[in-house]
Amino acid sequence: MIHSIRTRVTLLFMLALVLSVLVFAGGIWTGRKDFAYYRELQRYVQSQAELAIRIITQAETRGPVTIMRDSLVGAKLTPDLVSALEVIPDYLIVLDTAGRMVYVSEKARTLPASDLTSLQESALDIDPGTTATLLTLRSDQIYLSARLENDVRTPIARIVAGSSTITTEALWRDLLRSMLMLAPVVLLLGGTAAYIIGGVAVRPITLIISELEAITDGRSLHKRLGGADAEGDELSRLTSTLNAMIGRLENSFGGLRRFTADASHELKTPLTVLRASIERAMMARRGSNEQMEFLEEALNEVTRMADLVNSLLSLARADEGRFDLVRDVVLLDSILRDIAETATILGEPNGILVQVKECEPLTVEGDAPRLRQLLLNLVENAIKYTTVGGTVELSLSAEQGSAVLTVKDTGMGIAAADLPFIFERFWRADRARSRASGRGGTGLGLAISQYIAQAHGGTLTAQSRLGRGSTFTLTLPGAVRRDSGPAVIAERDRISHSA
């Protein structure tokens, strides 16, 4: 199913959906610092720093700010200034000219000692002014803003205000988490939608395929695909293109049919005349034996040429899908006995034993002369390629409702490399391997035999081992057992197989 366009479209769409969700989430996460909320936070930090410096300046107007020496914590601001600064709830540290922290806000005191040290170092480091600096500590991430105290009378040097971004980060994390949790649901919904849309888009193509499949051979080429409307979308363009192509095929097939009919006449008429002349000359009973010999040679040649013409026309029709048969009840066992006698006669000069191994009384619906032609061809080949003293075995049996005819020889066999090609037109075994001294057959026998088998809905197959022999198997469907066959046929076809 992975090969259907519908499935592939769905999978690709879902992949695209996953990628866009990831890009979206990643973009939000990395770009979050530019959001208004962060700028607001930076302004807030600035204002806190401004507020702190005002509180200190205010205190200075009432007298110089002093730093008390505390034996426990060292230097610190006076209590009234401390309480004034405590209105600022966030991070706030005040440093004296020696760089010591003289005030640490409540919030800053909750930091671990190492973080507080880092904070102190950064506080000394950062540029005072209108920018806010981001400081990453182990336990928090803080925007810092510093202000200088310029009054030389007081020992305070700078104050640093800070505000945590942690809560904001948590907000983003929550947002991302819910996005990721929603992702499978979105994916499922998107996938379903893609599958449905894919199906809708593909349905006209499926329709075209089933219509095209109905146009199988020369006989159905008059059919055209429906659905080529004036809308002119891609599919109706495809349909009209296909229709144009079928039209051209119909034309060329029609041409082939006319050619076949014309060739039948044009080639067969001279052959008929030739044959009539030869037969007349032979009938005349004048002339010498030598002349009769020439006439016989000519007659034999004419029949071969007529066979070749018929074979080529049969194959031309078969290519067109018109290898038609006369359908009648065929007594296969009767044909097989007839063939067996012929095989026995053919094999006699070379001492080839012909045996009928099995001969069940079976009938099929088919073309008796064509089937006879097929079997004669197989038997003729079997005898031709079997060495002196070999065996040719014929059998007819029923297998799962089919008639199975085999022609098995102990001949020279066919090389594995040649086996796939033996049913091709004009294929010939290596001339040297053929015992026949003169010219062989037309090379069309097996090709036509296979078409005959296929036109009956059956198969013709070959098995062979070089040097061991070949077995040709003809399988014909729809075999019926005839348990009490006509006595006349049995009488007429009684043959002794003591070759």
Binding site: A261, E279, R285, M292
Partner: protein
């Protein structure tokens, strides 16, 4: 028996005419559809018509239809170059009784005519006899000097063919066509093998040999 042959090719037409005349039949030959129709149209002048399918002017199929629509009842044997089943079915539907595909063996044409006319040929009595050799075509019994001879189907067929044309040399090709209806590869000596069998069964025990050989051509049965 009177036969009308409608065939445009003079060689084929003459060949058929002469061959049929040898059978002591009266044969008229017409070379195109219109004249053929005119000749056939005069009552029941002919017992059988042999009609070529491709004729100049009016083609064979139209001639056939016209003849049948006029009420011509006697058998019509069609000569055609088309061996496609649908073409044959078409001629049979148009009213032909049988067809012979070109190129044809004269023997085949004779056999079809014989079957259609249901009259025995001049030589085709149910019993063929040469000297003391007799072949009964109905019972398929073969006797020499009153002694029954058992023959296989192919041996019978070959002997029958030679006996039908006593004294005439029948070539291997013609014998093969008659007995097998199949053309074996050149170099196949199937006829010679069957003749050897026949000689053993028919001639071996007798001083008078009836089956003669014509080298390079074929065989003949004669006294």
């Amino acid at each position: 028996m009177r036969i009308l042959v409608i065939e445009d090719d003079p060689i084929v037409g003459q060949f058929v005419k002469r061959g049929l005349e040898e059978q002591q039949w009266t044969v008229d030959l017409e070379a195109d559809g219109e004249s053929g129709e005119r000749a056939a149209g005069q009552g029941d002048a002919y017992d059988l018509i042999i009609l070529d399918m491709r004729l100049p002017g009016k083609d064979g199929l139209s001639v056939l239809r016209t003849l049948r629509s006029r009420g011509f009842q006697r058998p019509v044997l069609v000569l055609t170059a088309q061996d496609a089943v649908d073409a044959k079915v078409q001629t049979l539907r148009a009213g032909a009784d049988d067809y012979v595909t070109k190129p044809f063996a004269f023997e085949e044409l004779l056999a079809r005519i014989e079957a259609l006319s249901r009259r025995p040929r001049q030589l085709a009595s149910p019993r063929l006899e040469i000297a003391d050799l007799a072949v009964d075509l109905d019972t398929r019994e073969v006797t020499r000097a009153g002694v029954r001879i058992e023959l296989t189907p192919k041996e019978f067929k070959v002997l029958e063919y030679l006996m039908r044309h006593p004294g005439r040399v029948m070539s291997r090709t013609l014998i093969t066509e008659y007995a097998w209806g199949y053309h074996f590869d050149p170099g196949t000596n199937i006829v010679d093998v069957v003749i050897t069998h026949l000689r053993k069964k028919v001639d071996a025990a007798h001083d008078q040999k009836l089956i003669g050989t014509v080298r390079g051509v074929g065989y003949v049965v004669k006294e």
